[in-house]
Amino acid sequence: MNYIPVNEKDNKAMLESIGVKDAAELFSVIPEEARIAKLDMPEGISEHKLVKELERLAARNLSSKEYASYLGAGVYEHFIPAVVGEITNRSEFSTAYTPYQPEASQGTLQAIFEYQSMIAELTGLDVSNASLYDGASAAAEAALLCVRSTGKKKIAVSKALHPEYRKVIATYLRGSGITIVEIELDNGATSLADATKLCDAETGGLVIQSPNFFGIIEDLAEFKAVAQNCSALLAAVINPLSLGVLSSPGECGADIAVGEGQVLGNPAGLGGFTFGFLAVKKEFAWKIPGRIVGQTTDNKGDRGYVLTLQSREQHIRREKATSNICTNSALNALAACVYLSGWGPDGMRKLGEQNIAKSSYAFEQIIKIPGFSPAFPGRAFFNEFAVKTDRNVEELGKKLLSKKIMGPLPLKGFHAGMADTVLFCVTETKTREDIDRLVKTLSEI
């Protein structure tokens, strides 16, 4: 295939203007021994063949279109209204560049401003940035922000955080000389006693996830008190879709809220449609990473939007920047913006309530099956719940797959001593019929 719209005649004219006979002359500056004759790969193909090949690859995957999926753990299947894709597919949004020339980018800038506004509202905090890569790197940035703001060198991270998030936080903090201490679990939630023990005068931040990796809702206000006691900040890793019904990080006193925004209007896509959100109390505005859009006026007095507080960023501060981030996940944040526009406060509440209702129903029915019991009895959850089973977990998964059911997620690879535990995720996309079929299939295994 050829996307080059220059013909031979035009090339000839251009070479003449440049003053060379052959394009190869323009590459003579590259040392001979470093040049190649050609790449060792197949030649180009037609669009028709390309589509066939990619369709072949796509068909080798099992998707949640044909299989009922009960997998969660950081990536969730939610209903996405058609309007969302309609907007993000518009080439004026998808092929636009970063809005460095604001006068030519008001569409992107206003949309991001509106996204920031809704994230701030949902989280109950003052300032949101324009997005980061994903929830895990956002959690790492939150940890760095705690250190940057307090000047202290220790971070306390709950073991109930998504294991991949913990790993990413550890990787990010490697080069900075910061100590990470891990807070123990207590029946699936973060142990308040252990947090109180670990947080000392050297601690700059507490990182707590709610709902946590096991779907359990944490008492963020209690951890805020612990943080306050040792003059540390509370960074809450939260699920924004739950905030129509669950208390906001702002209400709980959190200083920073981060998390995975994929739940807002983005598909699962192998975990590749992620974006991290980050919101803070206003006193941290000049310390946060990422781009920020601000409202202003133009030289005629009309309202407009620009990237602002840029002197925090890498293109100005270089090694002293608040982060190295440049390109982020703007289009995925745009999807979230369009998604959030259509629910309103009542819709968000009802959405949250339905997720709670359906996951609770599934939970109640599953633990009635002999050989299935709650892994963390008595714990309140949102969307996900962990179940202990006497069945062979691997066999269970295989049998469910043969019945076109994907999941639950075996927790064996994620936590020691949980070889008999699985994590079910039930969102508003499941009907009663779906859930009843899951329960029936489980009980027959």
Binding site: I4, G19, A23, F27, V29, I30, P31, A34, R35, I36, K38, M41, L54, L57, A59, R60, N61, L62, L71, A73, G74, T95, Y97, T108, A111, F113, E114, E121, D126, V127, Y133, A136, S137, Y165, L246, G269, G271, T274, A285, I292, G294, T296, D298, N299, D302, R303, V306, T308, E313, R317, N324, S329, S341, G342, P345, K350, L351, Y361, L401, M406
Partner: protein
């Protein structure tokens, strides 16, 4: 002026319909009150037609690649083929979960595996990670790999050499990875002085981080010498792949002596910029660094693909899951479509287009790096300062003629810099149109400076007050009455 969503709302409207809630109530205890939200969030309440109209109108306020020429130096704004959008949206790619059993993800894994192999061939590397979500993320990943490499060898190396023409993400990433940055002064054409490099290569230098061609669009002619010096000093060579489009198919960073590289898929490999991402910044390494790559790696055993987490020396993870998968799909499709011949022609045409523009524009403003370039070149707007016109004003004036402005004030080593990169997917007619307009604007700047100084005049908004935006930040909408 487009209203904000919060200004458009009508009480009680909901745009979207919830799925039916058909489950019976449970006997479980209700959620404790302390977990429930007390304050009603101030979110817009709008109907679907209003939402569609609002965002469609917003989209029309943008200059996009699909509608305007975007000669942004260092960004490689090339054509984004729509077929790739469709392919990345196939149900088998869109509706898959990262934790599905491996047997149910063989297609996705095959794609990622093949993409890695292709990138290895294109760049002369041994292995790739597709995890990093952007170029800066790739730089950070690479720097952590460098750090692990020396730690494993028991060598204390704390410094990274970076030319003063480097993109800001280079020193920012190095600082994040715990290194000290040593900036080396480059010549007026951005080229490095081999003697100066030799002096700076002390035993505590971990790596030299370079963009080739450099950020002035000039090929580092002493690159092989510099690589040899680095090797002699036991230092590694890191390649910032932002300018890979210039040498695509004609030369490979691995053959210049680079030990590791990052590639910007949203630059060289045509994936759309999305108004600021998502992109992808895969990192490639030579064999001696492969053990440090992030987990998991994709391995192929007897025709089957699997995720390998058993990498004790790995730096860990730089993000959750495997990478920006839809971006990877688009880049893979692009590579397949072009093939070896297409990729080579891409690099060649990018260089011809840029040199053509330089040949026509060098009469208007000086080009500090001379008469030849690779895929991009830099002009300086300094001669216009005496007329009271600066590069910023020229950029804004170009917007009036429906051109997105070139990159300005970068690289910082050129005063009043204007960096132009046309890419290969532009016709000569488009280039000629821009050239004609640019020449006119430069002339106009001297005769009638106010046109440029108060530009843009025809965009949806005029020049915006960035000072007030920073002094009195308004970062979200006001409360609803």
């Amino acid at each position: 002026m487009e209203k904000q969503l919060i200004e458009m709302m009508e009480q009680g409207q909901t745009g979207y319909s919830l799925p039916e809630s058909d489950v019976p109530a449970t006997a479980l205890p209700p959620l404790p009150d302390k977990y429930l939200r007390k304050t009603r969030p101030s979110l817009p309440e709008l109907s679907e037609p209003e939402i569609l109209r609002h965002f469609t109108r917003l989209s029309r306020l943008n200059y996009a690649l699909s509608t305007n020429f975007y000669p942004l130096g260092s960004c490689t704004m090339k054509y984004n083929p729509p077929v790739n959008e469709i392919l990345s949206g196939l149900p088998g790619f869109k509706y898959i979960h990262p934790y599905q059993p491996e047997t149910s993800l063989q297609g996705a894994m095959e794609l990622m595996y093949n993409l890695s192999e292709s990138l290895c061939e294109i760049s002369g590397m041994h292995a790739f990670t597709l995890q990093p979500a952007a170029g800066a993320h790739g730089e950070f990943t690479g720097l952590l790999i460098i750090s692990s490499y020396f730690k494993a060898r028991g060598e204390k190396r704390t410094k990274i050499i970076v030319p003063d023409s480097a993109h800001g993400t280079n020193p920012a990433s190095a600082a994040l990875a715990g290194f000290e940055i040593i900036a080396v002064k480059s010549g007026p054409d951005g080229l490095l002085d081999v003697e100066k490099i030799k002096e700076t290569l002390t035993p505590d230098v971990a790596a030299i981080m370079l963009t080739v061609p450099n950020t002035l669009g000039v090929f580092e002619k002493n690159i092989l010498k510099i690589s040899k010096l680095a090797k002699k000093n036991g230092s590694l060579m890191y390649y910032d792949g932002a300018n890979l489009n210039a040498i695509l198919g004609n030369a490979r960073p691995g053959d210049f002596g680079f030990d590791l590289i990052h590639i910007n898929l949203h630059k060289t490999f045509s994936t759309p910029h999305g108004g600021g991402g998502p992109g992808a910044g895969p990192v490639g390494v030579k064999k001696h660094l492969a053990e440090f790559l992030p987990v998991p790696r994709i391995e192929k055993k007897r025709g089957k693909f699997g995720f390998d987490y058993d990498l004790p020396e790995s730096i860990g993870k730089v993000r959750s899951f495997y990478g920006n998968f839809p971006v990877l799909v688009k880049a893979y499709a692009y590579i397949l479509a072009l093939g070896s011949d297409g990729l080579r022609r891409t690099g060649t045409q990018a260089v011809v287009n840029a040199n053509y523009m330089l040949s026509k524009l060098k009469s208007s403003l000086p080009a500090p790096a001379g008469d030849r370039c690779m895929h991009e070149f830099v002009l300086t707007g300094k001669p216009l300062v005496e007329y009271g016109v600066r590069t910023l004003d020229i950029a804004k004036r170009l917007l009036d003629f429906k051109y997105y402005a070139p990159t300005i004030y970068f690289p910082t080593i050129v005063e009043e810099a204007i960096m132009i990169e046309p890419t290969e997917t532009e016709t000569k007619a488009t280039l000629d149109g821009f050239i004609e307009t640019f020449l006119k604007i430069i002339e106009e700047a001297k005769q009638n400076p106010d046109m440029a100084r108060h530009a843009p005049h025809t965009t949806p908004v005029g020049r915006l007050n960035e000072v007030e935006a920073a002094r009195k930040p308004v970062l979200k909408w006001g409360k609803v009455q």
